[in-house]
Each structure stands twice: as structure tokens, then as C-alpha cells.
């Protein structure tokens, strides 16, 4: 299925979990936060949160800013 990650359409496995997606992206354990379709997904739910086709995933981190 296709989902959108940080604005880019990407092919992923059906019903992939957030934890699996982050592992594929080599982001496991990194300091980040995630929302799906503009709703926050807490870290504690990464393992159980399954993605659906056309989900819009945003993975964010902290950068310098004023």
C-alpha cells in the first residue's frame, strides 16, 4: 500500500505498524515525534499503531530556531 511520509508517497507493507516503519527508516530510538493524519501518535503506541493506505505520516525532530 502507499502512504505519505513527510510529504513523499512511499510504498510500505500492508498494515505495517509505526514501530516497523520507523525501523525500516532506521529511526528506531531516535529523538522524534510522530503524527498520522494530523493526530499525535504517542511513542507508547508505536508497536500497536497500524497504518492504513493513504495515511499521512509526519515524523518530526527538533532543529535550531528562534
Amino acid at each position: 500500500m502507499q502512504i505519505e511520509i513527510n510529504g513523499d508517497r512511499t510504498e510500505v507493507a500492508e498494515a505495517i505498524t509505526m514501530a516497523e516503519l520507523l525501523e525500516q527508516l532506521e529511526l528506531t530510538g531516535k529523538r522524534l515525534a510522530v503524527e498520522v493524519n494530523a493526530e499525535l501518535v504517542p511513542r507508547s503506541r508505536f508497536a500497536e499503531h497500524r497504518l492504513a493506505a493513504d495515511d499521512r505520516v509526519e515524523i518530526i525532530h527538533a532543529v535550531g530556531g528562534g
Binding site: E35, E58, I60, A62, V63, G64, G65, G66
Partner: protein, 265 residues
């Protein structure tokens, strides 16, 4: 942090005490090393960070801003820079809270216009209501309007932060009388946020009675950011002490400093 332990004049924001009244941003520096050195020289204890998309695939091992700012030393102040509506500002704060393990202190800014980056005060008021109700400690960027500042305080913001001039402009305090009025009316800390250009601007803000100043470009865009960071620290301290000391009244004509009595001619 010698100033933090020796200085009894503390800034209190959302129940936490700080020795430094200079808050700094972490953007626009040449690299992480310069960022860290400038922030060190500023003596700041509260540092703003922005929240942005993670790089995927590329630069995965790039140092992260949080790695050069140890949490035991600095209080993070995630901002909502780049948000032009209530929804994105609120989402950004919730993401920041999750990113920083439940951290409640945020800098709310809802911008109204690309050219001026002036705040959209109507959206700012709405976002502040939502965030305060959601348990955030909201330090809010606003314009230099005392009425809006009063409303933001009434909503429950923990600090009101009027601009001195447009973000990144370095124009200094354009409306000092309004800043003074905001300070006089407020029961929460008032910090000038944005628009200072050099150390005397920071001192002026403090002489007006502000509780602190938040700046980024004035340090980062100086030819020597580390040197300017130190200058800003001193400007803040000088202005604060001058405010506490109470300046002499200005007079139109001279008043001799040496006694008239005992003149021998």
C-alpha cells in the same frame, strides 16, 4: 553558572527560577559548534528550538540540536515558528511535548503575514486558549498592544512576549511606551521577543522594566556571534540593574556635580 547561584534577582517562569534573563534562539548559526559556543557565552538558561520534519535517508547521523544543548543545563522552549493558523500551532506544541517527554513549556507564535511576521493576534488568542486548557505553560509572542497582552494574560499564559520590532529586523524597540505600559499592567513576566539588534536595545528593554529578552538573529547574525552573545548578556544585566536602581530624573539644565561651597576664588 556562577550568575545562577550568586544572583538573588531571579526570573520565575511557570514556577521555575532562572538566574539569566536572556533567552536565546538556536537558529541561523554557521554550525552546531558555533551554536553551542554562542549560547554558552550568552549565559542563557532557556533556549528555543523549532520542530521540523526529520531528514529521511540522508544525513541520518547529523548531530541534533538537542545533543549540543544538555537538558540538565538548559530548559528547552520549543516554538511554533512558521505556523500561520491555530491548528498547526496547536499540533506543533503537542508534537514538541511528545518529543520532549511531556515537557509543558512552549513558545506560541501564530504569524499573520510573511513580510512582517507580525503575529495574527486573533489566532494567537484562540491557540493560547486551547493550549492553556490542554495543560501547556504558554509563553506567547504578541505585538506591542497592551490590550492584547492583557487578554493573553487573562487566558492564562505564563509569560507575555511583545515584539520590539519585526522578527530578525534588528530595528530595536520601536514603541517603548507601549512596552512600558504592558509591563506596568502585567502580573506575569513580560519579555521582549524579537527585533533587538544590539546590546543597547537589550539594555533598553530591561530599563523599561521587562523581565527578560528573547533573541536569536541579533546574536547569530553578528559578525562575531560569540562576542555578541557576551555583549547581550552584559546588556541585559546592566539594563536590569539600572531598572532596579531607579534612574535619576532627566532635567533640562545642568546641575553641578562638585560643591559650590569651599570655592577658593
Amino acid at each position: 553558572m556562577t550568575t545562577a547561584t550568586q544572583n538573588p534577582d531571579r526570573l520565575v517562569i511557570a514556577g521555575k527560577e532562572y538566574g539569566s534573563r536572556l533567552l536565546v534562539g538556536t537558529g541561523k548559526y554557521k554550525d552546531m559548534d558555533e551554536t553551542a559556543r554562542a549560547i554558552e557565552a550568552s549565559g542563557a538558561e532557556i533556549v528555543t528550538v523549532a520542530v521540523r520534519r526529520t531528514n529521511l535517508g540522508q544525513n541520518a547521523d547529523e548531530p541534533n540540536i538537542l545533543d549540543v544543548l544538555p537538558p540538565e543545563r538548559y530548559t528547552y522552549l520549543p516554538n511554533t515558528a512558521g505556523c500561520f493558523d491555530v491548528d498547526t500551532a496547536v499540533r506543533t506544541c503537542r508534537l514538541a511535548r511528545e518529543l520532549l517527554d511531556g515537557h509543558k513549556l512552549v513558545k506560541l507564535e501564530v504569524l499573520g503575514d510573511q513580510q512582517t511576521l507580525f503575529p495574527d493576534v486573533i489566532a494567537t488568542l484562540k491557540a493560547a486558549e486551547i493550549l492553556v486548557a490542554d495543560g501547556f505553560d504558554v509563553m506567547v509572542y504578541t505585538n506591542d498592544d497592551p490590550i492584547v497582552a492583557r487578554e493573553l494574560e487573562a487566558i492564562g499564559c505564563c509569560a507575555v512576549m511583545p515584539l520590539a520590532a519585526p522578527i530578525g529586523s534588528g530595528l530595536g524597540i520601536r514603541n517603548p511606551l507601549n512596552i512600558r505600559t504592558i509591563v506596568e499592567n502585567a502580573k506575569v513576566p513580560v519579555l521582549v521577543d524579537a527585533g533587538v539588534g544590539t546590546a543597547s536595545d537589550a539594555a533598553e528593554a530591561m530599563e523599561l522594566g521587562c523581565d527578560g529578552v528573547l533573541m536569536n538573529t541579533a546574536i547569530a547574525a553578528a559578525k562575531d556571534p560569540v562576542l555578541m552573545a557576551g555583549a547581550m548578556r552584559k546588556g541585559i544585566e546592566a539594563g536590569r540593574e539600572a531598572y532596579l536602581a531607579g534612574r535619576m530624573p532627566a532635567k533640562r539644565f545642568a546641575s553641578a556635580s562638585s560643591p559650590i561651597e569651599g570655592l577658593f576664588f
